[in-house]
């Protein structure tokens, strides 16, 4: 009976072992194609390249809080006193990390949805059509987009057309796997702008949490005491950078010299010592006196230094606009249909806007919905107006591509497009590691305090605090320069 049970057990084990080996082999095959650590190829991935295990999630250091008075101008002070911060009533507590944050944070919707009914249309930025390739449907509504596509500006390609093999692509755009948004491959671009996952939240003292590298946001206060966060669009610049791993080997690297481990040479006993018993004992001497301790005659107090921020006043704003800024959007904050293509060209190196990280001028809990998603080179957001505060911030770059050492001019345009005055407007740009701020290059067309502090990426976090409230329809321009590392 025991023998039968053993045989039955071994048969079962063999069956399960075979099944497990088959499963492991299948898993290993899948792992070979999906493991980010293994050697990669340009095979079309199903999703963007995952983060390397050498890239820890860098937590953003807490930003220095805003060091000036709260937004309470004379005309608005009574309103604010009558209506203290009540954002918590609009923000569901479950969506906020802590009560301290929940009191003052306005949560932006993660996914835009179409809005119905009459609405005001704000056209902001440009986007990549869904699917990553300009389809016929997408281009049907925007004929000019084909003519003014960023790649069409460079006439004949650098390499013969036959060099572009692989899957067929539409137009002059380089090949890209289907279903991917934004620039591809990601590791050839440096991006700046938008709000990466882990959305930015502003505390009651205007300190900022969740500010990741590459983030560019603006936050402002409303008359009813709320603090709203508005991210900019995302600008990507083609700037690959290389390094190398070296190994030098030679034939003598394995040479090994053997030595004798030791010598065995026992020694004979040299002498013999007899042990003598103790015959007498001497008592220890008593203490002759007491040694006193001298008290310190001086006391030196060490006082820790207080936190000092380098407040730099923005230098005089140059009113003249650069050629790449000669856009109605930058000059007057208004969109001109004839300049959509040019705006698309300067907004991103090649492919600017992603669906999630594009412009999200979303305030309060009114979701900005994409009204037209497949028309180049813009996205049209629609949302209800009802006395809502609203700030639009856009970002453009002077170059599409750059090599280490090149200087890139960034321009931020922000406008109060809401129906009420807003205050304490703060624009924050958290530069990525590959971008180095050029000292004294920050300009702002409005009165602002400029603060630059180091961030987790060993670059700088730039912060402009607009000193005066921003009336309805008023905007400003911020410029700064960066060197590509």
């Amino acid at each position: 009976m025991i023998g039968m049970s053993c045989i039955r057990c071994l048969r079962g084990a063999a069956f399960w072992l075979a099944l497990a080996v088959l499963t492991v082999s299948l898993c290993s095959c899948v792992a070979q194609n999906t493991n980010p650590n293994r050697f990669r190829a340009d095979q079309p991935p199903s999703r963007p390249r995952p983060t390397s295990p050498f890239a820890p999630n860098r937590a953003m250091a807490p930003m220095p809080p805003r060091q000036r008075a709260a937004f309470a101008p004379q005309a608005l002070a009574p309103m604010r006193a009558a209506a203290p911060r009540q954002t918590a009533a609009f923000a569901p507590p479950t969506a906020l990390p802590s009560p301290a944050v929940a009191r003052n944070v306005d949560v932006r919707p993660a996914v835009a949805r179409p809005a119905a009914g009459p609405s005001v249309v704000a056209q902001v930025g440009h986007t990549e059509p869904l699917g990553g390739q300009p389809s016929d449907v997408a281009l049907a509504g925007c004929v000019d987009c084909v003519k003014t596509h960023a790649y069409s500006q460079h006439a004949p390609p650098a390499l013969p057309s036959s060099a572009w093999t692989g899957p067929a692509h539409v137009g002059d755009a380089p090949w890209k796997p289907d279903g991917l948004y934004g620039p591809w491959p990601r590791d050839e671009y440096i991006c700046d702008g938008g709000d990466q996952p882990g959305e930015v939240r502003v505390r009651s003292d205007w300190s900022v949490d969740g500010l990741n590298l590459e983030d560019t946001i603006a936050h402002f206060d409303t008359k009813d005491g709320r603090t709203i966060v508005a991210p900019s669009n995302r600008v990507c610049i083609y700037a690959p950078r290389f390094a190398a791993v070296r190994k030098v080997s030679s034939m003598v690297q394995a040479r090994e010299t053997m030595h004798s481990a030791g010598v065995s040479a026992p020694l004979r006993l040299g002498q013999q010592t007899d042990s003598v018993l103790v015959e007498s004992a001497m008592q220890q001497n008593q203490a002759m006196g007491e040694v006193g301790f001298r008290a310190p005659i001086a006391y030196r107090e060490r006082q820790e230094g207080v936190l000092v921020h380098n407040n730099l006043a923005p230098i005089h704003f140059e009113q003249g606009f650069s050629p790449f800024e000669d856009l109605q959007f930058i000059r007057q904050g208004a969109f001109d249909n004839s300049q959509k293509a040019r705006l698309a060209d300067v907004t991103s190196a090649a492919l600017a806007w992603t669906d999630k990280k594009g412009v999200q001028v979303v305030l309060d809990h009114t979701e900005a919905a994409i009204a037209t998603t497949d028309v180049r080179p813009q996205v049209t957001y629609q949302y209800e107006l009802g006395g809502k505060p609203r700030l639009r911030i856009g970002k453009i770059a002077s170059r599409h591509q750059a090599r280490p050492g090149d200087i890139i001019d960034f321009t931020l345009r922000f406008d109060n497009i809401g129906t009420q005055e807003i205050g304490n407007v703060t624009i924050i740009d958290n530069l990525t590691t590959r971008l180095e701020y050029v000292p004294d290059s920050a300009q702002c067309s409005l009165g602002a305090e400029f603060v630059a502090s180091e961030n987790a990426g060993e670059s700088l976090t730039l912060r402009w605090e607009i000193t005066e409230p921003l009336p309805i329809g008023v905007g400003g321009v911020i410029r700064f320069k960066c060197v590509v590392r």
């Binding site: 497990a20 293994r38 050498f54 790649y151 460079h154 690959p240 791993v245 190994k247």
Partner: protein, 261 residues
């Protein structure tokens, strides 16, 4: 019921122990013969086959580098040369005028294993830089073997330092480490440089020595400047001039002298 449970438990233990022994599998290595890694890359698909990836080879001051076209070395180009190379092919180069070692030559090989995807018209502006230092050239002359894997840095792991356009940053690995695997952890490997003391026959380079003299696209000298601000020659002309126009042929490159004429 009990035998089934015991058998399942035994199988799970065996499988878990087997999986735990190999956390990561690297199918490729820098020690493979030249061309093996790039050929394997081509088998994985994607827009790699037939694409001429621009590569810039830099040598120390005073040295010159030449490539192979139709089994003949081109005229030595001082400082640097830029050429479009096919992925998966192996290209032999010749370095002469090594500082302090007049008359001696080193013949490194270059294998491109991946490509860039720059905006159209800017391919030549972003070549893969391959730098040959004086130290490495002397290592090769002393009989040592130098393997250098050039990789594309991941922006999220970027080294927070200003890049020197004339000096490529590199990391030295231990003898027991595979430079290709280390480069894969740090970024995306793009090319492999192998350099030893191997010399061609006295009668000239054989077909085996030059790996069949694969097709090559030579770029004009103005595109051999190291990375940095755009040069006045390149400003305002985003499309580089190539010595050839039209469909590619198996042997479409000509010696540099012919290009100049």
């Amino acid at each position: 019921m009990a035998p089934h449970f015991l058998s399942l438990l035994l199988a799970c233990l065996l499988v878990s122990s087997a999986v735990a022994q190999s956390p990561v599998h690297f199918p490729q290595s820098a020690y493979l013969p030249p061309g093996a890694v790039g050929s394997h890359q081509l088998l994985r698909g994607g827009p790699l086959r037939g694409y001429f990836q621009p590569v810039q080879i830099r040598v120390p001051d005073g040295a010159a580098v030449s490539l192979v076209i139709q089994q003949q070395f081109t005229d030595p180009a001082p400082h640097a040369t830029t050429a479009g190379m096919l992925i998966g092919q192996v290209y032999r180069a010749k370095v002469t005028g090594i500082p302090g070692r007049p008359g001696e030559e080193v013949f490194p090989t270059i294998e491109v294993i991946n490509r860039l995807h720059p905006p159209k018209g800017y391919e030549a502006r972003f070549p893969i830089p391959i730098e040959l230092t004086t130290e490495e050239l002397l290592f090769a002359l002393q009989g040592r073997f130098v393997t250098r894997v050039i990789y594309l840095e991941n922006p999220s792991d970027a080294f927070p330092m200003q890049e020197n356009p004339k000096r490529q940053r590199y990391f030295e690995v231990h003898q027991e480490d595979d430079p290709l695997q280390v480069a894969d952890r740090l970024g995306r490997p793009m090319a492999i440089l192998r350099m030893g003391s191997r010399q061609p026959n006295t009668r000239g380079p054989s077909d085996q020595f030059v790996f069949g003299s694969p097709p090559l696209l030579l770029f004009p000298d103005e595109y051999t400047q190291p990375a940095g601000p755009v040069t006045p020659q390149q400003q305002g002309r985003s499309v580089p001039r190539l010595p050839f126009d039209g469909p590619l042929a198996p042997q479409l490159a000509t010696p540099r002298e012919a290009v100049r004429r």
